[in-house]
Symmetry: C2
Subunit: 426 residues, 2 copies
Amino acid sequence: MSKPAEQLDIASTMQGIGRAARRAAAELARVATADKNNALRRAAGHLREQSRRILDANAKDISAATEHRLSAAMLDRLRLDPARIEAMAEGLEAIAELPDPVGEQIDQWRRPNGLLIQRVRVPLGVIGIIYESRPNVTADAAALCIKSGNAVILRGGSESYFSSRAIHACLVDALQETGLPPDAVQMVPTVDRAAVGYLLRDMTAYVDVVVPRGGRNLIARVQRDARVPVLGHLEGICHVFVERSADADKAVAIVVNAKMRRTGICGAAETLLLDEALDVAVARRVMSALIDAGCELRGDARACELDDRVVCASDEDWGHEFLDAVIAVRFVDGVGGAVAHIARFGSGHTEAIVTEDRAAAQRFLGEVDSAIVMHNASTQFADGGEFGMGAEIGIATGKLHARGPVGAQQLTSYKYVVRGDGQTRL
Amino acid sequence: MSKPAEQLDIASTMQGIGRAARRAAAELARVATADKNNALRRAAGHLREQSRRILDANAKDISAATEHRLSAAMLDRLRLDPARIEAMAEGLEAIAELPDPVGEQIDQWRRPNGLLIQRVRVPLGVIGIIYESRPNVTADAAALCIKSGNAVILRGGSESYFSSRAIHACLVDALQETGLPPDAVQMVPTVDRAAVGYLLRDMTAYVDVVVPRGGRNLIARVQRDARVPVLGHLEGICHVFVERSADADKAVAIVVNAKMRRTGICGAAETLLLDEALDVAVARRVMSALIDAGCELRGDARACELDDRVVCASDEDWGHEFLDAVIAVRFVDGVGGAVAHIARFGSGHTEAIVTEDRAAAQRFLGEVDSAIVMHNASTQFADGGEFGMGAEIGIATGKLHARGPVGAQQLTSYKYVVRGDGQTRL
């Protein structure tokens, strides 16, 4: 906790950031597409040119993190190398290539009295991003905000402070050189945690939406404390359901990929549902393939019977986010059983069915109420890049406004433009 | 304030309503379009058949309201007659005629790996509606919710309790007779105000969004206390700007209609902005027309100079919602001046420009950041019915999710449907 004197300072610092962001947002909302894309390409160039400086800053963060005994997984997320910097730069260029969502006409109709009504995309305004150790979020999130005409206030974790600051400098230089408002991308200049509370609760006049990027604790805190809307998700409890008429080869490939490609991401499968009417040999093959790939299986009675390498599941294993090489396995009664299990234990993120039966697929896709539902594909495709959005600022499971991968288009709202010729209302 | 014993009862009543609504929402999300439309048409029939019973119930409300000395305006909003019941019935039939938003494919694209990604509309879930004295909100709001596949919890004002209950009975009968879940439209069975607090704060597990319909006090309370997203607006400070190249006849017709057609609705103009370069004769004509129509003008120094019937405006008149035959009048320096005045004093609801200059119109439409911006048309068109949505559940000024008139389509979200052929992620 910080002392009162420091809080006072944080309040005035944050108010200043908020006011500047609001001004920059009004300016950025009117910037031409070409100018925004120029700024993004220039920022990519700066990342490449300044890679030495960014790596030096990262080395400072890494040495502090090593001292504080951060986990290997945390260190891996924090560590930058030339390839990761190049990937960041390419990410900015990919976002520059995307169509500009701002000004896009979503819909248009004419009323009997001649009024023409158009629905047009506009930026949201000012977006607050609170993230943890990944320094690349600085570049990705800022780029998506610039592209969508939004100003952004970045609040990175203390672990990645120097790395994020070096990346931020590249972005601000690019904005300045291309005549865009540099305050469109601001970084909170303190690691004091009171700044996060201030951003969540006391800046409703300046911040339109908050996006948390990080672990469950961070997201739960943001969802609890925020006085502005939050785009994000708490957990990714993704299910893969292998239906009775699944193709065995597709089932094996999809299940192993959905669980094991990367076990620590939100789109990784956490529960495998097997149709009770599925051929026993296929069920055995799918489970064996997982075990052979190094995965621990926690199964119901039937799964344990079929393969004695399966551990008996406890009640806590259903709906549990392992984020590791562990998966819960349960037999269910067809699509209805799978839908019911997902409704009870899912988190509304991503669910997949493997089947060759179109009617079964259609029922699953229709009845499962998640942001992303898939037929014959791996849940690990739940990602803005894989969706063709260039990058993503997160995956939203709330049903208001944005749902699924949040890219530049999802960072916009719309307004109605009405064109008349003197119509007055009866 | 209610006593603890009563609060306990409210808690269990409201929890029961919430659980039933959630179940009904899951069922209603899958109901066929034809069945929903049948239920709406049947409800219209019941309103007509039961009009005697509805009028009797309304008479009870009116006599209580007269006893409690409610204002004439409140009594007018509360009073039903055969024509108003017929209008409600026709409203239900108009909503039945609209296309079903649920299942509508908003977007579709294919990825290089063959994955087909579709964005499809789905219901929001459970919608809570808190309204005051207008009994017709019961029918309109419930019908929009049914059409959009959402369950609704209605909490009407104590003044319209008996009227709303009689209308509610028609809707429930129609749901039952057509095989739809009757719990899809529930009414809070108490006028205890504690129920509103409970609905706003303690039902996040059951309620997805709250819509307040009523005066400023109600909406401010809902925005302050709600723990779920709120669709709505606090004030409608609508501006009409008459630009230098306006057509004089259109300017007169639009300004008088925007202010005087009905002064008590949120789309009524509250401030008239006149271009400093506007022909003096045209400015005089517009002001005279308003005064002749019975409107009080509160003007800046220049407006007072032009017509001595104009009262001098005070600072509080800018951005004030008169909801009466009063308008503030100010001269501004062209489109830039109008945009700046609106940014400072507007409420993001509806703004109109009158001009024959397309470039000036385009700049105004682009730079004014309101839910609805109009060119050469009256702000009183800011209405779901006038937009062709059949009815509206309100006008939203927030930029997340829905903005402008909220009809059936705006009560839906979307999910992504991904169709593959065994794709796994690299």
